[in-house]
């Protein structure tokens, strides 16, 4: 098990000079080094292509027109083998042209035009050959370099227009570009005209500041981003040479196409794949823009993509190859598999479809799942997950002693019906619905909390749950769910919260520009906003009361065009809106419909993440094509099951918790120690702040009491984090909770809950006031037992059952008893023994 608090780095820096600080401050620039090192493909771990003897080869495209002197054609050549495997042979193929002088083969089997004409290109490799027909036209064209379709993409590809550089909202170093060239008009002015045209040099284009900076000829904080051998450099030089020509009305680009476009599996040693990207235009034309597109990988540990569009497998698993050109994004999922010698595939018998999907994926990537957890581990784990609390010693013993073959599933059924389950899972919803006194007042919190609790207790179908929240109208004290609207500051906030909660989409980016990683556009953003724009809230005379109602007018205007935006939902069907009725109804109807692709999916993924510590899609409320699921079939199956069972949340929890996957051990084996996303084992995680304080209370028998709630309410059952005013003088309870990451509930993002470790946590556990108070309390469980003269071993067994759901082993007993017997101050010795138990990973973690 990993150590969870890293020792504070000691001040042993020998060269503690000025420069150490300099390099520390320069950390942001360090990131650039990585990209710089990756600039050339030579730095990627590419093994030579093994051609072998393919049965046939496939060449894409089968015919093509190169129209213009600067255009090119990237071929993609795939070998198919007798055993069903495929290999990308693009770079080892030989190209022969039937008519000379029309075109030539350049690097990476990209074809470059020479003169107008037609030719056949014969492609041969590994004893196979095939051909494509190529038509080259328009070679004498004097058309200048396109600002929209060549220069701007070049700036994006070089990284200039990235969000961390000049594409940031305020740019960098007083040079601001729009993010990924989203706003060409603004960029045109910035590049060509701003500050009297200082960025371009029309007489000596190469000397332009625009190029000299990224070449690092002139000191550039962003470092070296462009070499004069790069295609981006060539494009930009030629564009400036043309006098920075900007086309008046270029044909609109309608999209991009990626080849290979379908998800594909590559098996080592064939772990590379060349891609081709084409852009389509409204006039029906299509251009190869492989050399101008930008490439990214969703997971650099699994796959890296070179600037020439070559995906290279780094490890076993799947990653999305993401391609960007202007505002268009396309991605495809590539799986990288390889043979693992000596692996004898053997798994538990699947308990249900969860295991079937998980095992299928694991087998594909050769990550052998860990065996089953022990009864102790499972018992402790399932209590923490379903009730938030540690089980009592008597329950532990009873469970461990039981020989009932179905005891695990019976236990799950029991726990799902407990009051603790209801309250703990109510808290999880409280986190994302922003239940806090600051957001909705004390009265609002109490009412809304009660409503959620009843909803969880009655296992209200999830669609009903969402409907009641989103359609809330009236006083927040009478209709508790109207507090949802009270917690939203404005239309944008409400719409963004709704999208993140129920659609798993972080649409906020699209407020100002098209989403950089999703098909969401500004139009989508304002189209969705239009549903919520007529919501009004008003305070009443009653303290803490607000009323939510729907205005019958009020429209959203698009910030770019200032035109009224009609309500819009994803998908093509037009909405039939009754002008008389509440617009939200149409939205909620679409949202909770069984065919909605997002609604059920984000909820099952959320439940999965809450139980497994990591979403099938991670982060779990960030569903998008460019963020591939660790197991799409499983996500689909869970979604379908959820819909089929009328959005029954307990059914999904039960299904997951009963799976072998959930019940697997957290220990690694030699074949799954590198797996961090395919659920080959249970991933340990630290107890949440609330779980930890409750665990400490249960362990010591000293209850923490919380203000403004009835006595007996546990931390895992608190309606809100701020019912009590934070008191700096009285460090304890709330302070402890904050240190361990209790969220303040200011956003709908689950990410507000901190799961990291910090020095503050180490100090709290070392001798923090809360812990010290509990340990030194003479009325705590251990002091009392000692005063009652209980045997040391009995006290120890009780401690272990409470803390770890198991009895101490012989060695643990021996050490503790010896320590206790030799100590002068027996009470102190007992405190020490408990303190040690608390500071063990076995206590602090769920595993």
């Amino acid at each position: 098990m990993r150590s969870w608090i890293k020792p504070v780095k000691q001040g042993i820096v020998s060269r503690c000079t000025l420069f150490s600080l300099v390099s520390f401050l320069g950390v942001s620039a360090q990131l650039v080094l990585g990209e710089s090192a990756q600039h050339e493909e030579a730095d990627l771990p590419i093994t030579p292509i093994q051609v072998g003897t393919p049965e046939r080869i496939e060449v894409s495209p089968s015919e093509f027109t190169i129209c213009g002197p600067r255009d090119q054609l990237q071929l993609v050549i795939t070998g198919h083998y007798a055993n069903g495997e495929i290999a990308d042979l693009t770079r080892v193929a030989t190209l022969m042209f039937s008519s000379p002088g029309i075109a030539e083969s350049a690097e990476r089997s990209a074809i470059q035009p020479l003169a107008d004409g037609e030719t056949t290109v014969a492609v041969s490799v590994g004893g196979c050959s095939t051909s494509i027909s190529l038509n080259v036209t328009n070679q004498k064209s004097k058309d200048p370099v396109s600002f929209y379709y060549e220069a701007l993409p070049a700036l994006s590809k070089a990284g200039c227009a990235a969000g961390g550089c000049h594409g940031a909202p305020h740019g960098k170093g007083e040079f601001r570009l729009s993010l990924w060239g989203f706003d060409p008009v603004s960029d045109q002015h910035t590049i060509i005209n701003e500050e009297f045209g200082r960025r371009v040099n029309l007489i000596e284009p190469k000397k332009s500041l625009l190029l000299a900076k990224p070449r690092n000829d002139v000191a550039h904080e962003g470092g070296l981003r462009l070499r004069d051998s790069d295609i981006e450099h060539e494009v930009l030089v030629n564009w400036i040479k043309s006098g920075c020509h900007v086309e008046k009305k270029p044909p609109r680009c309608t999209g991009i196409r990626l080849t290979p476009g379908k998800d594909l599996a590559l098996k080592r040693p064939h772990h590379t794949q060349q891609f081709r990207v084409e852009a389509m235009f409204e006039d029906g034309s299509c251009k190869d823009i492989t050399h101008l597109a930008s490439y990214e990988s969703s997971d650099e540990k699994i796959c890296r993509v070179s600037r020439h569009g070559l995906a290279v497998g780094m490890g076993r698993g799947e990653a999305a190859v993401i391609v960007r050109y202007l505002e268009y994004i396309q991605s495809t999922i590539v799986s990288f598999v390889e043979d693992v010698p000596d692996l004898n595939w053997e798994t538990e018998t699947p308990a249900n479809y969860v295991d079937e999907h998980i095992y299928a994926k694991l087998e594909k990537f050769k990550y052998l799942p860990s065996g089953m957890s022990s009864d102790s581990e499972f018992f402790r784990r399932v209590h923490l997950d379903l009730t938030g609390l540690l089980p009592a010693p008597a329950q532990v013993s009873e469970f461990l002693d039981s020989s009932d073959a179905d005891k695990r599933s019976k236990l799950i059924d029991e726990l799902l019906e407990t009051e603790e389950f209801t309250l703990f899972w109510t808290q999880k919803w409280g986190d994302v619905l922003k239940l806090s006194a600051r957001q909705m007042g004390h009265g609002g919190v109490v009412k809304f909390h009660r409503w959620i609790r009843d909803s969880v207790a009655s296992n209200q179908p999830y669609d009903e749950f969402a409907k009641e929240i989103l359609l809330a109208t009236g006083s927040n004290l009478i209709k508790p769910t109207s507090n949802f609207y009270r917690a939203g500051s404005d239309t944008s906030d409400i719409m963004e919260s709704t999208a993140q909660l129920f659609l798993g989409t972080r649409i906020g980016c699209a407020k100002c520009h098209n989403h950089p990683y999703e098909p969401w556009t500004q139009d989508s953003y304002y189209g969705l906003s239009a549903f919520f724009n007529r919501i009004e809230t008003r305070k009443t005379g009653r303290k803490g009361e607000i009323v939510v109602w729907m205005n019958d007018e009020g429209d959203v205007r698009h910030p770019a065009t200032n035109e009224i935006v009609e309500p819009w939902v994803p998908g093509s069907h037009p909405l039939d809106l009754d002008p008389e009725s509440d617009r939200r109804k149409a939205f909620v109807e679409w949202l909770t419909g069984k065919e909605n692709p997002f609604f059920a999916k984000v909820e099952v993924n959320r439940i999965w993440a809450q139980l497994m510590g990591r979403g099938i899609v991670e982060p779990f409320d960030d569903l998008r094509d460019t963020n591939p699921a660790a197991n799409q079939p499983l996500l689909d199956a869970l979604t379908a099951d959820f819909v089929e069972h009328d959005f029954n949340r307990k059914h999904i929890i039960r299904t997951i918790v009963n799976s072998r996957t959930y019940q697997a051990s957290s220990k690694t084996n030699q074949w799954n120690k590198n797996d961090y996303r395919y659920f080959s084992r249970y991933y340990p995680r630290r107890l949440t702040a609330e779980q930890l304080i409750d665990a400490l209370s249960d362990l010591t028998g000293i209850r923490e009491n919380f203000a403004s709630v009835p006595p007996g309410i546990r931390a895992t059952q608190l309606p809100a984090p701020d019912l009590k005013k934070h008191d700096r003088e009285k460090i304890g309870d709330i302070e402890f909770l904050k240190v361990f990451g209790m969220p303040e509930r200011q956003t709908v993002c689950e990410c507000e809950r901190g799961d990291d470790s910090s020095l503050g946590q180490a100090l709290e556990l070392f001798n923090g006031k809360t812990l010290h108070g509990m340990l030194s309390d003479q009325n705590n469980r251990f002091h009392l037992a000692h005063q009652e003269k209980q045997a040391t071993e009995a006290i120890l067994t009780d401690l272990y059952l409470r803390a770890f759901s198991r009895e101490p082993n012989e060695e643990e007993k021996k050490i503790a008893v010896e320590y206790f017997d030799t100590a002068k101050d027996k009470g102190q010795a007992l405190e020490d023994i408990v303190w040690v138990a608390i500071n063990r990973d076995e206590f602090l973690f769920q595993y």
């Binding site: 420069f19 300099v22 620039a29 029309l202 000397k207 904080e221």
Partner: protein
Amino acid sequence: MNFCFNINRLSVVVASLITPLLLLAEQPVSFKADLAPILLNQCQSCHGPKKSKGGYRVDTFERAMEVGFDELHYRMVTEEEDEIMPPDADPLPAEMIALFKRWQEEGETFDGDDPQASLTEIIPGLKHPDPPPQYARAIPVTAVAFANDDQSILTSGYHEMLVWTARDGKLQRRISGLPERILSIDIHSGGKQVAVAGGSPGRSGEVRVIDLLDGSLVQLLHKSDDLCLSAKFNPTGTRLATCGTDGSVRVFDCETWEEVVTFANHSNWVNDLAWSADGNKIVTGSKDHTSKVFDLTTNSRISTYTGHDGGVYSVIFDETGEYVLSACSKGKVLYWRTESGQAVKELANQSESIYQIAALDSAEHFIFSGAMPSVEMIDLQSGKKGKEFTSTYNNLSLAVSSDTRRLLTGDSQGGLRLVDIESGELLTGFTAAP
């Protein structure tokens, strides 16, 4: 052999320079000519007056050597990923590092005049390349001026200033040896000298005072690492005030060319400056959205005007010196009191940036131009719009003849227009490119 470092072309020069240096090993390494350009180009963006990461600066010899040679050298050669400099790119070329090493072996001597002077000041005078015989295409006209009793027109060129006959737009002369770009041209009251401010964007800035008769260099001033934006003589011609992207305003004596005073009050580029008629005050306009007035009798700041919401591009005093007109990137012209910096009124508020503003006939009217294809006239007292002189492209530069009867504009496409103010008639129009 000429060892002058041309920092404009460092990468090229390094390659060609290193080899002869190694061959001629007896030639000692010069700090000001060899090492200063490296520090300036490779280090100063993070360790300079604008950013001084880790509290370390290299912008003077003294500061650069504060850490000692060993540390400086260690940072260039270490394999420690956290300590190597520059942190964001490939290490410095071995040849550059070798220069440092050799300089140390030769005794670490400083061959400049002032160890506290900025690197740009100690790097030997940069010789500018010759302008191209013919321009591949016209370039924006960023500065214009009348000369020779309004008979000639001076315009900014590429590494040169161009002299045209006002009457017919014929190219009279080309005065070369000047920086890549010229942002300001100002004629001395004696008519014999001209002050030219400019430089190469992101690389260097300077002001040159040129003898108009033979084009020879009178004085090189205000060298910095980015453009100088304006240089103007006082009405009597005894002083020259300069300003630029380094945020400073400097005043020089026109006899001795000694720096009389420096004002470093602006936090961003100083785009423009103007003298009061009595020569006692200077007003400045800066990218930091402010405009400031300085008193040269006391060498102190009188006031700061903060009413602009964009960078201030152009400033002028009225004829009494009691009021200032300033124009900014947000399209506003404001009229305010010199003494207090209090606004009197807003004279223009348009969506396009205003780059230039100039007074007409005893300052009853003024004109302005900017990111719009016209020059507009406004009555100072009533604030009413007067004539409008339209053109095809945005005007970047503007000048009024000394008899205030003619108007000269230079545009973003290289076009030049000489217009009669009274009739609005176009007297001469041509593209200002050889």
